[in-house]
Symmetry: C3
Subunit: 332 residues, 3 copies
């Protein structure tokens, strides 16, 4: 469904310059935009390009004297653009009467709210609860006793193990595995075999979390693993048993957390980071890509970046790199 530019201006709290009746159907890049598209400009130097593009309207931070195109002026054009996109997308609401596909197998004891969509060949176990507006993709397997809140979007072929709790507005990309057994064994000194330590806890995913394709998050061993509200997790990330991840944490692709790690709110983890068990990353810390944190380590400092293995403050790390380079240039 299209929206008038005027409506979008109101939603994103922008000043409208020009024709508010223009109809906007989607968002696009400047290079690919056509008449129904909205584009945005963060850097003023691209503004004339945007104005000459095929776009129907432009979001920008500052207006220019004369423009044939309607403009939305606001402080954070990229944020406004993202919100507008969300608004236009949500017109494709899941709250339709599409319902449960005839090949989806929903256990008789499961309770699905109205407007739940279950796609082809999905399997919903006993005692599952799913909130209104949630879509379960084709081929998903949702184990016994799983609770999923409202307006979630679970892409195809996701596995959710028994007992996992998922909040509202959670998005899970295809192939992710939620609530698998953690990696815990006790070695038998007699014969050297590894006995499996019980992995009978659960996994809790709070509201507004997004989880990337083929990522894996283990359930707690005896207690729980928890992913805090608003946290975003990229593809192929591993989170071990008993981890407690705070709110609005960013975890880039292929990062791995072993067991019992605490990540506080607003932490940012780059890609391919590895963190040892029982480490504690305090609020607002940033870990650079491929960085390694030793077990039991505590890292602190809002906005402080760490890098390298073992991780050290970025400033120290850069000094060390410089020393290493200098070392080679000296006569010794």
């Amino acid at each position: 469904m299209k929206r008038r530019l005027r409506q979008i201006a109101e939603l994103v709290n922008a000043r409208l310059l020009g024709d508010g009746d223009v109809e906007i159907a989607g968002v696009a890049s400047i290079a690919s935009a056509t008449a129904g598209d909205l584009v945005f400009v963060e850097d003023e130097k691209y503004l004339s390009q945007a104005l000459q593009s095929g776009a129907g309207a432009v979001i920008a931070a500052v207006a220019v004297g004369t423009s044939g195109k309607p403009l939305l002026i606001c402080g954070h054009p990229k944020l406004a653009f993202a919100r507008a996109a969300q608004m236009l997308r949500s017109d494709r609401s899941f709250r339709t009467d599409e319902g449960v596909h005839s090949t989806a197998l929903v256990h008789s004891s499961a309770r699905l709210d109205e407007f739940v969509i279950v796609e082809e060949y999905a399997v919903i176990g006993a005692d599952v609860e799913i909130g209104a507006g949630t879509r379960i993709g084709a081929g998903c397997v949702v184990g016994r006793g799983v609770k999923i809140g409202q307006d979630c979007l679970i892409y195809p072929r996701v596995t959710i193990y028994a007992g996992t709790a998922v909040g509202e507005r959670v998005t899970v990309q295809a192939g992710a595995v939620l609530g698998s057994d953690g990696f815990g064994y006790v070695r038998d000194p007699e014969d050297g075999h590894y006995e499996k330590f019980p992995q009978v806890g659960r996994l809790v995913i709070e509201d507004d979390v997004e989880i990337g394709a083929n990522s894996t998050i283990d359930r707690g061993a005896l207690d729980e693993t928890r992913i805090g509200r608003g946290t975003k997790i990229d593809n192929l990330v591993h989170i071990g048993h008993n981890c407690r991840i705070g709110e609005n944490v960013i975890i880039a692709a292929q990062t791995g957390l072993s067991g019992s790690i605490v990540i506080e709110n607003d932490v940012v983890l780059g890609g391919q980071v590895g963190i040892g068990e029982h480490a504690h990353i305090e609020e607002g810390v940033m870990l650079g890509a491929q960085c390694g944190v030793l077990p039991n380590k505590i890292l602190r400092g809002k906005g402080i970046a760490f890098w390298g293995t073992p991780a050290q403050p970025l400033r120290e790390y850069l000094k060390q790199l410089a020393r290493l380079a200098r070392l080679g240039k000296k006569k010794r």
Copy 2:
């Protein structure tokens, strides 16, 4: 099914102090335990906490003078706890008459033992053999000619390529891929294209192996890839073609082995380790997290830890880190 504490004491070979008639239904952490739960204490300092918890009984290494709770005393409380958990879990035996779900597609030439469970929408190919007590999860795809032994637990959405052999009591977490084509190509000097080298060998998984969620293990190119008895593999691990992994090897999450690597018995690989082709890791070696081993390298030494890239003995690595740090503190 519940067990009397007396029965558990016998199984785990512990000395029973107190009421052996207490009924135990499961295991728990000290914080979450209720009356039907068994808990354990490794470190004596948590014993009073355990005794004051809601648990029905405590496994510990030493007894205390007076306690309202029954105790199981033994040399390795954590191991005894793991065994007890296993015992209580196995009461949920797969050897039921749950059988093959009506939507599972089992090829007419496949031979399934009695007490095999095949869940919803699983696909079992021609000439497959599956042993008694094995469960194949929902949405699994088991290729032509695969052999799976007794009492295996294959979680949902696992793919097992044609010809793979799986032993007894093997557990495979959701989304794992067993027996995929290895990564082998021959470059054509004429036009620079890569011709696929045949990947027609097979994969053999021995008894008591566990494989983590979304891990991938390639078949041999011409011969076989083999995972030895009792080896435990975490999530998102990659094992390339022709690797030969020994017995009771531990491979933590996101570790990657390229082709034709030999890992001997009792090796421990930390998370995100990378090993180059044709490397040979001898018995009992330990590789620290994120460590990198060059192609063709041989690492030896029972109980010797290696770290860094290229991997070196931990002692050397730590010295080097110390030197590097010192370097910065000198006037130069």
Copy 3:
């Protein structure tokens, strides 16, 4: 179907010595070969072993005086072997009348060429087009509007998101996810939450690409992600939104590319490499395993190898390692 050795000699452009009527059914290693198998020898020192093996014929670079076995002599034995294997395999042509399995769900608006095979429980969305000779494995989910060319082999449980374009002769191993949402968010300065940046572009996979098991490739945010012709991608690789990968690129297992990276033709990336956003790897560069490339970095030099984090020319890297080692041996 078996082939006469004479036919194979013609195909791979080799000189036939001995009986051209020998029937060849497959390829094997020297150790496992039986009478119907073809083997190859790259290194002359294994030639006598090959001649004494059970194989029906041997491909080699040089002939020997007397041999009871027929030989194929050519300049690149391994390449010829790979081609012969391909030829013998293609006898198991997908161009059969196996067709669409009765449990596969194909949307009425999808257009499947003749000789398309769709296996059990696969789901094919609206407006999908699939070319002749392509096989879609069991449990695959192919989203709305996906185009797949001729003679592709999509293994079981692959997810292809809506709008993705796949060329001809593309192979995708099990569990891969193609076209998932990229990892892009805009932080709201007011309340600190992350707003999802639109991920509405698409993914284009060109001809002759191979993608490994459980790898993930994100769609473009607004424009496209593109994987060039002949590129080979191993297992558990992550490729972020807006990346443009050239032709005949090799990407080994567990390597991760964040967003908007350009990789030119003939680049080789080792395993567990990590590349930061907007980096540009020019034609023919080689990156060693576990190497890390900083965002926005440009690496150039045909045939030049880079290693370490941050990546530097291999020669520099090795010097640095040597210095570091020397440092420890000095009295300081």
